[in-house]
């Protein structure tokens, strides 16, 4: 060991180990998705009776039988599961009971709203979270850093829906108070529901291009991203404080490197390894948590779609949402694992050979 770079075959060995690792992770991901698929599929069997839901009160035994064959409900469980997976793999997630349209079509229609909201709040959470985390770590005992840390407790402890409602109350409804004889309103005229005007580009409806669309994004994005931002900030801070205590930081200082180089080149990069894990998972939960924010702001995304589908027992939509979220989580996890390789050279060595 320790002579990897001297060995001419070392590079290919490393790549080989990395490839094997990636394949292993992909196989694991597929197994996870199969299990989730099973759960989603089981909902069809055990949550209510779709035939009841579709046919309603006025039905004959012949109608029931016909629909049962049509939906393939007369076949054995395993066959049904296989058919479900096969169709899902081809992008056919069934037909919504409620809207009588393909679920994929409905999801694609709703996805842009959720993805745009998640992208904005995710970017906000990461950018401000990391910046504030670094700031509070470097100025550990400063007044500003302590103030930020105290305020961040609010972000961690207040539930998302309450933050949403409070933001609507302050900046949309507007709170009025009198100061020095002048009436001041906190109303910024920000919309409290919906996406505002959207522009269609291809199949994608975006709110980024209109003023009302951008305005409509502000409050929901803050609501959704605030918790993640404070979490990332506190994580970056504690990791950074830990890293700043390390010998290599002392040694970097002893070599007279500029404070900026010590903080950002040496400390930050070492901080990022654990931060990436959590941040990756947080991005997944931003989309998953969007359910609450979308409900509060009546945001026409997949989260709201999911809530509505629960109320109407629209199982194909629920199942599809479950599958979608799990695919996303698995994909994010995979990307996070690959990012480790990019950041930490120690992982690029074959881990099984090193025994840890």
């Amino acid at each position: 060991m320790g002579n990897a770079a001297l060995d001419p075959g070392a590079l290919s060995v490393k790549n080989h180990a990395m490839l094997a690792y990636i394949i292993k992770r992909i196989v694991q991901s597929v197994i996870v998705l199969l299990v989730v698929g099973l759960v989603a599929f089981a909902m069809f069997r055990f949550v209510g009776d779709p035939i009841d839901n579709i046919l309603g009160q006025e039905r004959t035994q012949a109608d029931i039988e016909r629909l049962r064959v049509e939906l393939g409900l007369d076949q054995p469980f395993v066959v049904q599961y296989w058919n479900f997976l096969a169709r899902a793999a081809q992008g056919d997630l069934g037909v919504s009971y409620r809207q009588s349209r393909p679920v994929v079509e409905i999801l694609l229609e709703r996805a842009p709203a959720t993805l745009e909201l998640a992208a904005v709040s995710g970017a906000m959470a990461i950018i401000f979270g990391i910046m504030l985390g670094i700031f509070t770590a470097i100025r550990r005992d400063g007044f500003a850093a302590n103030t930020i840390m105290t305020i961040s407790l609010i972000g961690v402890s207040l539930p998302t829906f309450l933050i949403g409602v409070l933001l609507i109350y302050f900046f949309s409804v507007g709170m009025q108070f009198t100061l020095f004889g002048q009436t001041i309103s906190t109303d910024l005229g920000l919309p409290s529901f919906g996406r505002g005007e959207t522009v269609k580009i291809g199949g994608w409806s975006t709110g980024f291009l209109t003023e009302s669309g951008l305005k409509a994004l502000i409050l929901p994005a803050i609501t959704l991203g605030l918790y993640q931002m404070t979490l990332i900030m506190r994580l970056v801070r504690s990791e950074m404080l830990e890293v700043l205590r390390q010998d290599y930081i002392r040694f970097a200082r002893a070599r007279g490197l500029r404070e900026r180089a010590v903080n950002f080149r040496h400390a930050l990069k070492n901080t990022l390894v654990p931060v990436i894990t959590i941040t990756g998972l947080q991005l997944g939960s931003i989309i998953a948590f969007a359910i609450i924010t979308e409900t509060v702001f009546q945001w026409p995304g997949v989260g709201l779609l999911f809530i509505n589908s629960i109320q109407t027992v629209d199982i194909p939509v629920m199942a599809a949402y479950l599958m979608l979220i799990s695919v996303m989580f698995v994909a994010i996890n995979l990307v996070v694992d690959l990012l480790y390789f990019a950041i930490d050279p120690r992982l690029r060595v074959d881990r099984t050979a090193r025994g840890h």
Binding site: A4, A5, Q246, D247, Y248, F251, A254, G256, K269
Partner: protein, 326 residues
């Protein structure tokens, strides 16, 4: 002393705590000349590292220099503003830490860590810095340096990493190196190599070295002069041979007696009774008096004389006797 690089005058380091002010370094003075290796020896907590950190300006808060002066190459540096002191670090004085496994940033190639240090201090181009990085690694004995520049720290063994650390400390050609227990974390077989390397490089370049250690073997092997510290104070200072063969401070004498020497063939090692007092619990008078076999009443009242006239800070130093050289 001709050509003095580092001069410490009556250095005092204080750590204010809630209850009292602790004084890990108390009125310490010594000089190091160009090309000279000064060993600083003492038990854990004797203040040796604290003095080294004070010189390079890396005392951890709340520890701070509260008295005395530090002169480097004729310039006073203990009262410099942070930014000016930062520019001296790495360029005029370098430091080598105890544990080479944790001294290098695991995520940066060693070549990048070398060039980064040189580019910070020297007015050279990146390609010139890269050339010098390879040369610096060759000089500390890294085989195939041209390829190893691109390796990460984890691809080196402990001894090799300490060589890299030394290359890093020396790459901007400082006139002073503070080596804080540079061999303590290494295998015994590697220790001698590292000491020999440090010695060779500093002799070649005329670099002054403050070698902090608790290993008398290392002192005997590498140093020209030795400073013995006890409870933050200097107990004895002198040329290595004299101090080892004719220790004058009872503490130094005890330290020598407790060091195993293969040539002497002793059956039992002597030991100094008791242990070093904690800071803030120092006895009145000489800090060593409760453990000293020769302590008199006077030792319990007044602090021992400073080292200006004699080389031991003791009221009743051991008389010089002719011992049989080992």
């Amino acid at each position: 002393m001709s050509n003095t690089v580092l001069s410490i005058r009556n250095l005092v380091v204080d750590i204010p705590t809630r209850h009292a002010v602790l004084r890990p370094v108390d009125n310490v003075s010594y000089d190091i000349a160009a090309g000279e290796i000064l060993g600083v020896v003492g038990e854990s907590g004797a203040g040796k590292s604290m003095a080294g950190n004070a010189v390079i300006g890396l005392l951890n808060r709340p520890a701070h220099i509260s008295g005395g002066e530090i002169w480097l190459n004729g310039n006073r540096i203990d009262n410099l503003p942070r930014e000016k002191l930062r520019r001296l670090r790495g360029k005029d004085m370098g430091m080598v830490f105890q544990d080479p496994l944790t001294s290098l940033n695991p995520l940066l190639r060693i070549g990048d860590q070398l060039t980064e240090t040189m580019l910070t201090h020297l007015d050279i181009s990146r390609s010139e810095a890269e050339k010098r990085a390879v040369a610096a690694l060759e000089e500390v004995g890294i085989p195939a340096a041209a390829e190893r520049v691109n390796s990460y720290p984890h691809e080196f063994s402990g001894g090799m990493r300490q060589r890299v650390v030394i290359a890093l400390a020396l790459c901007a050609e400082p006139s002073l190196i503070i080596a804080d227990e540079p061999t303590t974390a290494l295998d015994v077989s590697v220790q001698a190599q590292i000491i020999a390397l440090l010695k060779r490089l500093c002799r070649q370049r005329g670099t002054a070295v403050m070698l902090i250690t608790h290993d008398m073997g290392v002192i005997a092997e590498a140093c020209d002069r030795v400073a013995v510290m006890y409870a933050g104070r200097l107990a004895e200072l002198g040329p290595v041979r004299e101090v080892i063969q004719n220790p004058r401070h009872p503490y130094t004498d005890g330290l020598m007696g407790s060091t195993p020497l293969a040539s002497k063939g002793q059956k039992r090692l002597r030991q100094i009774p008791g242990s070093m007092p904690r800071l803030g619990r120092l006895p009145a008078g000489c800090a060593f008096n409760p453990r000293c076999p020769k302590a008199q009443d006077a030792c319990r009242i007044d602090p021992p004389p400073t080292m200006e006239d004699g080389r031991a800070a003791c009221l009743y130093p051991i008389e010089i006797e002719k011992k049989v050289p080992a």
